[in-house]
């Protein structure tokens, strides 16, 4: 077996190109039997290493063997009456792959050049006037960002899944009663206080909707609380 560094080969096409170059083979006249034999030998070696890409090498070995079998059979003829070379597809695949392999070197060159440059590192003291209101727009956000967010949202969602929520028996009417009862004992009630014993998210949400309903009906009022992220509920007497 040849002393070939394994990581050199990105895949079966890469390996075939190596054989072709090493043996100065005419790419349009590949000796399939010889190449297949070498390829399969390499494959044995590769299987021992249990390499991630072994499957793709095995697939190529199978293709090579099919070509070999077809080479032994009488020549097939295409619609123009010309002989079909069973190797044609493989040759095209090799050439196409080679085109991009060359570009890999070009990209690597660009990468090297770019790595020598350094951008500015510290923007903290640039004089800038604060601009007013802030809103959001899309820029450079792609579908990938969107689905990543979706996956993250679903994975990190709170324990109460939707099917559980459906089981929670709570209505806005019930929660209206609940709020009004509490307000009979307290003149004022912070929202946090109101929901602190409500365990399910859905119950809190329904309670919140009930609050809004009561505000709409003019039965309660809301005002800001001194505490951050809270507000105070107070009852309004009819008449």
């Amino acid at each position: 077996m040849y002393k070939i560094k394994l990581q050199v080969f990105e895949g079966p096409l890469d390996l075939l190109l190596f054989f072709i170059k090493r043996d100065e083979i005419d790419i349009y006249d590949i000796p399939i039997s010889k190449i297949t034999k070498e390829f399969v030998e390499y494959l044995e070696f590769l299987k021992e290493l249990d390499l991630e890409s072994a499957g793709d090498f095995i697939l190529m070995a199978s293709t090579l063997m099919q070509i070999k079998v077809r080479m032994l059979l009488p020549k097939e003829i295409d619609e123009k009456g010309e002989e079909i070379d069973p190797r044609a597809d493989l040759v095209n695949a090799l050439l196409e792959y080679k085109r991009f392999k060359e570009m890999t070197d070009e990209l690597s060159f660009f990468e090297s050049n770019q790595r020598k440059l350094n951008y500015r590192g510290n923007y903290t003291h640039d004089a800038r006037e604060e601009a007013p209101e802030l809103d959001l727009l899309l820029k450079n956000v792609t579908i990938y960002d969107l689905i990543k967010s979706f996956k993250k949202a679903l994975m990190e969602r709170p324990r109460e899944a939707i099917h559980e929520i459906e089981k929670i028996n709570v209505s806005i009417e019930q929660q209206i009663e609940f709020i009004l009862n509490l307000l009979e004992d307290n003149t004022e009630l912070p929202f946090i206080e109101l929901v602190k014993d409500l365990n399910e998210k859905m119950r809190i949400i329904v309670t919140f909707i009930a609050l809004l309903e009561l505000v709409k009906l003019g039965k309660i009022g809301l005002r800001e609380s001194e505490k951050f992220n809270d507000f105070v509920i107070f009852g309004i007497n009819d008449g």
């Binding site: 079998v69 579908i143 969107l146 949202a153 969602r157 806005i172 909707i209």
Partner: protein, 217 residues
């Protein structure tokens, strides 16, 4: 100190993520050009002064300032309006993670109510839903028949246009998402299964092959 170090000092201060002290500059220069390089703290100070003099004479809109024992570049105050407007624009244009998350939930689960979005996100989403409505990325699609009859939200044509989608059905399916985001182990697993299958095929081939071999060669 060699004149050339003026440019090196400039490059170092320019590219540093933190305010750079004279000592750090000296260390870097000595590391690259040898311990015996003649460069002292006073040289750095002098170079920075000279550089600033140069920026002033060339009407450059930036200069080096000294803060917290280090040097950093900063643009001058007279451009604050322009620079401020621009960084404001940039912040505006980056859809925040929270907005993106909300948008993705609405896109996949539409039509969906605000309480449902909130139950997935676990946080109040009023502000974000309003922003998305304002930006015309989502719209009201109707009301549910359930208690309180909450509004239903869905995505707009603007949303499709932005993401280059023909219809909402073009969004990657959950199966595809899993495939794209799966971890290395999973891929490895899948490959091993595939490899076994191909190996069986190939063994058959080799058998057939060796049968035919003897006849022709």
């Amino acid at each position: 100190m060699d004149k050339i170090y003026s440019s090196v000092i400039e490059a170092l201060i320019f590219a540093s993520d933190d305010p750079l002290t004279a000592n750090e500059i000296i260390n870097a220069v000595k590391e690259i050009d040898g311990e015996d390089t003649e460069i002292k703290t006073a040289d750095i100070e002098q170079s920075v002064d000279e550089l600033n003099e140069k920026y002033k004479n060339s009407d450059n809109s930036f200069r080096i300032i000294k803060i917290a024992n280090g040097f950093i570049f900063a643009t001058k105050g007279e451009y604050a309006k322009y620079v401020g407007f621009l960084s404001h624009e940039k912040t505006k244009r980056r859809l925040s993670q929270a907005a993106l998350e909300t948008l993705s939930i609405i896109a996949y689960k539409q039509p969906i109510t605000k309480p449902e979005v909130e139950s997935i996100r676990g946080v109040n989403s009023d502000y974000i839903i309003n922003t998305l409505l304002e930006k015309n990325l989502i719209t009201i699609k109707g009301r549910t028949e359930t208690i309180g009859r909450p509004l239903l939200y869905g995505t707009t044509d603007e949303f499709l246009k932005y993401f280059g989608l023909y219809s909402i059905a073009d969004l990657p399916k959950p199966r595809e998402i899993d495939e794209i985001m799966q971890d290395e182990d999973f891929i490895e697993q899948k490959r091993k299964i595939m490899m076994n299958e191909i190996e069986e095929i190939i063994e058959d081939e080799v058998e057939k092959e060796s049968d035919g071999e003897g006849e022709t060669e």
